[in-house]
């Protein structure tokens, strides 16, 4: 059973896709769309403002992750895939660095002093 968090993220993803250009949505294989529909939350109703751009919509992190999968698997070409993955890896490094700085024991002691 997929978690509630993912079910809700799938509901948001489907809501985004309902407001996405048909020609782009048509590139997603019907079997994958069916899978999303079957696993979407039956109770969660997304309230998204589609006049906003994706990065301003305050989407759940898991929604962004599923949309990223769709983008990478079905929408982008090889060059775009390389660039996209590089960006995600850069984000990974930046997040790790941030965490290291936040939880660095030396820094904690410094604060406590």
């Amino acid at each position: 059973m997929i978690s509630v968090e993912y079910k809700e993220a799938i509901s948001e993803t489907l809501d985004i896709l309902r407001h996405t250009k048909k020609e782009d949505v048509d590139k997603i294989p019907p079997r994958f769309m069916e899978f999303l529909k079957e696993n979407a939350s039956k109770t969660y109703k997304p309230k998204l403002d589609h006049t906003l751009k994706i990065d301003k919509m305050n989407l759940k992190p898991k929604t962004k992750a599923i949309l990223a999968i769709i983008y990478e698997e079905f929408w982008c070409n090889n060059r775009e895939r390389i660039e996209f993955n590089k960006k995600l890896r850069d984000n990974e490094i930046a997040k790790e660095k941030e965490l290291r700085e936040k939880y660095n024991p030396n820094n904690i002691f410094k604060v406590k002093k």
Binding site: D24, K27, F35, D55, A68, C76, L88, N91, K95
Partner: protein, 303 residues
């Protein structure tokens, strides 16, 4: 051919596209009584008030679900003041937007009057739009002489680049001419706004409901906005208090509301802040769910 062309399925369109040719079009005929500077001055004076009110009402509706703005100042002074503040802010924005759009359209020669009113005593020779000869029994060599009416009813014809064209519905015909012959507009909104402006410019005493219906048929995506423009602020069947920039603005707003996401935008939006690890975690979760789904189906088959 753009979206408009594809949407046009009526005979009128086909006739116009197939037969009309206008050669040596050097310059779009600009038939404005006001000079550009005067016109822009007029826009500043107008100051976007009506559109600002429209926007302020929308903001208030979204925030408070409040409908009766006329009674707002009596019922809730605080909300009324907030409403007034929004109007003041929006007025500045709207006036700037409108001015920019008009500056550009005027510079590009895209604001044109495509209808000419024939004054009393005036005689105009007009080319009959092919296929419409039966409506002009007095025609000769594909042309007809049209006289300014003696009665109150105005006579209008299409006027583009100094040439006159006769068609029973100038708005409908000029729409096709603008799209197909002159390719004057960058997008549907500019075209629609210009045509609605021309409808208004034709005069208030001419019934225009058929034309509104026609425009709604051609631009189904702006159906509500066309109806809104017709009924909400003006007299029914008249655009008389609307100017072209109001219409452009309302349609742009509508476009924004109906905005569709694209693959590219989704790619850029998701890459912003998402880590590779988060994406892989989601991928694994979906794969696991899919595997369980398959396993359950297999088990059901075995049973």
């Amino acid at each position: 051919m753009g979206k408009i062309g594809k949407n046009l399925s009526n005979t009128l369109y086909k006739i116009l596209v197939r037969d009309i040719t206008v050669e040596n079009i050097d310059k779009v005929f600009i038939d404005f009584e006001l000079k550009k500077d005067d016109f822009l001055e007029e826009i500043k004076r107008w100051d976007g008030l009506r559109v600002a009110i429209y926007r302020a009402q929308r903001v208030m509706r979204e925030k408070y679900d409040f409908e009766d703005f006329k009674k707002l100042h009596e019922q809730d002074k605080e909300k009324y003041d907030e409403y007034e503040t929004i109007i003041e802010q929006e007025k500045k924005k709207v006036a700037k937007d409108a001015e920019e759009i008009l500056e550009r359209l005027l510079d590009e020669g895209k604001i044109i009057s495509t209808v000419k009113e024939i004054k009393k005593g005036e005689k105009i020779t007009a080319i009959i739009v092919p296929g419409q000869e039966k409506n002009y029994p007095d025609s000769k060599d594909g042309c007809v002489e049209i006289n300014g009416s003696e009665d109150m009813k105005k006579r209008t014809i299409i006027c583009i680049n100094g040439k006159y064209y006769a068609y029973p519905d100038p708005l409908a015909a000029s729409l096709s001419l603008c799209v197909n012959e002159f390719k004057l507009f960058d997008d549907d909104i500019e075209l629609l706004a210009n045509q609605m402006y021309n409808t208004k410019a034709e005069g208030y005493d001419i019934p225009i409901n058929d034309r509104i219906f026609f425009l709604q048929k051609l631009f189904p995506e702006y159906r509500d906005e066309i109806a809104h423009i017709m009924t909400r602020y003006g007299k029914k069947g008249s655009f008389y208090i609307y100017e072209e920039d109001d219409i452009v603005y309302l349609l742009r707003e509508s476009e924004l509301r109906k905005k569709e996401h694209t693959a590219e935008e989704i790619g850029q939006g998701t890459a912003n802040g998402l880590s590779k690890g988060e994406e892989e975690e989601a991928k694994e979760a979906l794969i696991r769910a899919k595997e369980r789904e398959t396993k359950t189906a297999d088990e059901q088959d075995l049973n």
